[in-house]
Each structure stands twice: as C-alpha cells, then as structure tokens.
C-alpha cells in the first residue's frame, strides 16, 4: 500500500499536527463488501469506522467529526465494483451524508474527480470527493441510491373490528419515510406522509359497512418508490364476537344499536332497534334462527 502522512483536521478525538493510520475492513458481511475500495480522508484515523448504514448501491464509512470543521473524504472505486452497485455511468455517482444526497445539503459538497491514470490513484479507478462540515456521527457514502422498491402492506386486510385501524407494512432497505393512502373506491379518504416507523394508526374513524382499500410506498432522497398492492378491508365484526360472547343473551336496545351490521341484515332501522318492543321481537326471532 502506498500513502502519505498528512496533517489531519480537528475531529471528535482531537487534533494533532501529523498522523497516519488506516482501517482495514475484512468483515464477512455482504453489505460491507466494497471489493477492496479505498477511502482517503483527512479526519483522524481514530475517528473513522466501517459504515453503520449499508444500502444497495452505496459504499462508504462512518466518521465522527467536529461540528463546523470541514473534513474531506475521497472514495476510490474500481469500475467493476461500480457496475456491481448498479452504476453504469461512473459520472452519475452521488455523495451522501447518512442517506441524504449532498445536492440537498448546504454543509456538504461533492465532486467527481475522474478516472485514475496511476499517478495519484490506481489506473482505471474512479475517484470522488465529498467534503462535510456538519458533524455528529455520520455515514459518508458514495454511489447511487435507488428509489425504494415496491412496498409491501401487511395489515389491515379483510374484516376488521375497529374503525381506526393501525396500518402496518414491511421495511424497505433504502426508504427513509413512508406514505400511506386510504381510499373508498377512487376517493382518497386519508393520507399520511413522512411516516418513519413501520406502522401508522388512522387519524380519524373510517366509514363502516363499505370496503376500503389502502396502500403504502417508501421514499428516499432518490425519490418515491412504487405503491404496494392495494389491500381491501372493511369494518364489520358481528356483535357477539366483538363482545366476546359465543351466543348473545337477551339483547337490549343498547346492545342492538351497537350492532348495526345485524340490524341491517334484519332490515331493522336504528329507530326500531332502539324500541324495547322491537328489540324483544328481534331477540325472539334471532333465538329461533340461531344455529
């Protein structure tokens, strides 16, 4: 290996006038296999680590800088590795601080330094330079973050027992936020953007007795991914199940009115259910038909 001692910048551990060190990552983790790539920085070697964040299409390291002090990071990659990252044109590589593209940050800059001729870095390898001055612990990454893959919704689906369900979906590797949409037919009823967890509870009660659909999609700094396949659901548990009974006892008017689905089946209006006499008639009829 060939390199040169340098004067590092102030970083989390402190500062010295000259230093040299390196970190060789031999991890067996596939996500950290950067195929012998090199990273060169003027940040002290005690403050650089293998990346804590890994994503398809990105390679880099983790750094612990001093806020307000600009540190530079060079990434040197062989064309074969760039191709494995899904990057056909090395000029399209971007710089990322954590998962945020440098193009959207005021505290960072990124430059494509070009292909090497062997005098400064290996012949044929591409070199990129990222400078960053806003610090805590950051993942400094190079590559091309793809839009998140098609999302996968988990629940609700089918018949549910609450009008304010919690929507759940599967994690997407490169997504930093999720968007949930709920529809009645083609009418958008609810929309939640910027969800950072893998679930979200409906912010208001959804209509009963009708089938609704919902879908989710992930987004990253590369853009929004595809929506999940829409899942269909409907509020509509029968009263006795909702109340934990295997068989209803003599219903009261209150009980009956909490059971709009059964009332609807019996073609009884809410007013009829509310009447004790109507309730008694309904109960007698119901007992006779109960299996």
């Amino acid at each position: 290996m060939r390199a040169t001692v340098t004067d590092p910048v102030l970083s989390e551990s402190g500062n010295v006038g000259a230093a040299f060190g390196l970190i060789v990552d031999c991890s067996s983790l596939v996500a950290r296999d950067f195929q012998g790539s090199m990273f060169v920085t003027n940040m002290h070697w005690l403050d650089i680590d293998p990346p804590t964040f890994t994503a398809t299409g990105l390679a880099g390291l983790s750094a612990h800088g001093s806020n307000g002090v600009e540190a530079t990071f060079d990434g040197i990659f062989a064309p074969a590795f760039l191709a494995d990252m899904g990057i056909a044109d090395p000029n399209l590589v971007q710089g990322y601080v954590d998962v945020n593209a440098v193009t959207g940050l005021s505290s960072a800059t990124f430059a494509v330094l070009g292909v090497g001729n062997g005098s400064q870095w290996p012949l044929g390898s591409w070199k990129y330079r990222l400078a960053n001055s806003a610090w805590s612990t950051r993942d400094i990454m190079f590559g091309r973050l793809a839009k998140p893959a098609k999302a996968v919704g988990v629940s609700p689906k089918g018949t549910i027992s609450t009008t304010r369900p919690t929507f759940k979906w599967k994690k997407l590797g490169s997504a930093t936020a999720y968007e949930v949409r709920v529809y009645k037919g083609t009418t958008l009823l609810l929309k939640k953007t910027g969800a950072t967890t893998l679930s979200w509870k409906a912010s208001k009660a959804l209509p009963r007795k009708v089938y609704l659909t919902w879908k989710v999609r992930g987004s990253s700094s590369a853009g929004a991914g595809s929506f999940s396949t829409a899942l269909k659901f409907k509020f509509g548990l029968s009263c006795h199940r909702a109340r934990g009974r295997s068989r209803p006892r003599a219903p009261t008017a209150r009980w009956c009115c909490r059971c709009p689905r059964l009332c609807a089946r019996r073609s009884a209006s809410a007013l009829l259910c509310a009447l004790p006499a109507g309730g008694r008639r309904w109960a007698a009829d119901r007992r006779a038909r109960w299996p």
Partner: protein
C-alpha cells in the same frame, strides 16, 4: 463446625499464590501477542518511509508481532496494529511511544509532527494476511492529494494474496 486458619497455615499458602502470579506473568506476553496476530498484520521489514525509502525495523520480542519502528533508538516512531476479531476489522497507525498494550492509542500518542514521520512523508506499507482473507475496504487517514494505491488492486488477486 467453624474452621479457623492459623497464621502459619496462611503462610503455607503463599508459595501457591506466588506460583499463580508467576504463571500469569509468563502468559501475559502470549496474551498480548494473540491480540495482534489476527488475519491482518503489518510487516514492518517489508515497509519503507520517506523519499529515500528507508526500511522500518521490527521491534523484537516481547513486543507483539506486527509491531515496527523507524529505528530502535530515541525519537523513533512506532507502528502497531490491532485486530478486532469480533468486527473483523484491523486498525493500524503510527505513534510516538512504545505501545503499552493491545488496543487503540490515545490521540496524543499519534502525534508525528516532531518525529521522523512528519506530514508529507511517503509510506510504502506491507501487510500479511491469510490467503483467502477478503479485504472489503481500506479507509485511511492520509494525504488525499498524494499517491494512494493498494497492490494488488484486483480484488480476486488481493483475496488470494498473503
């Protein structure tokens, strides 16, 4: 029944304690050596510094394997590496004092500006690893505007190399 030890009986146990202590002292260098004998080690005698490509020298035992210096005299700079088996990461750097043990040094010990390795000193460093050991990446603190290279640069050849 309560057993009581007399002073004489306590004294008779002292040789045993000394034996345990002696064994621990004898095994200590082995423990230090094992900390630096991971899949990647620095090869000081295969490494050079400066424009005249002066060879580093290996620091003799009981120093851990893979430890070198610019010289064995006063004012030398030392190089030492630390292999973390849990993360499979090798960290190596130069320091201005003899390492006192395995692990990373304090930042004050990494100051090289007043020694034989000031900023701007070119380095040619050799390392040893097991054949088949894959190198995912190398991150280094170094001059980004000077020559930087890994040989062999081909990942398959690098993996096969020792």
């Amino acid at each position: 029944m309560i057993r009581r030890y007399s002073s004489a009986r306590r004294l008779r146990r002292l040789p045993a304690l000394f034996a345990v202590l002696l064994l621990a002292l004898l095994l200590a260098p082995t423990a230090l050596a094992s900390a630096g004998s991971g899949p990647v080690t620095w090869a000081p005698v295969d490494s050079t510094y400066g424009f005249s490509e002066t060879h580093f020298v290996a620091v003799p035992l009981p120093a851990p394997p893979g430890m070198g210096a610019t010289s064995l005299g006063l004012g030398a700079a030392y190089g030492a590496g630390f292999w973390d088996a849990a993360t499979e990461v090798f960290a190596m750097g130069f320091i201005n004092a003899i390492p006192t043990g395995a692990g990373l040094p304090a930042i004050g010990q990494t100051e090289l500006s007043t020694g034989p390795l000031p900023a701007g000193t070119p380095l040619k460093l050799g390392f040893r690893k097991a054949a088949g050991q894959k190198v995912d990446s190398v991150a280094m603190l170094g001059d980004p505007n000077a020559l930087v290279s890994i040989e062999p640069s081909d990942p398959a050849t690098l993996t096969a190399a020792t």
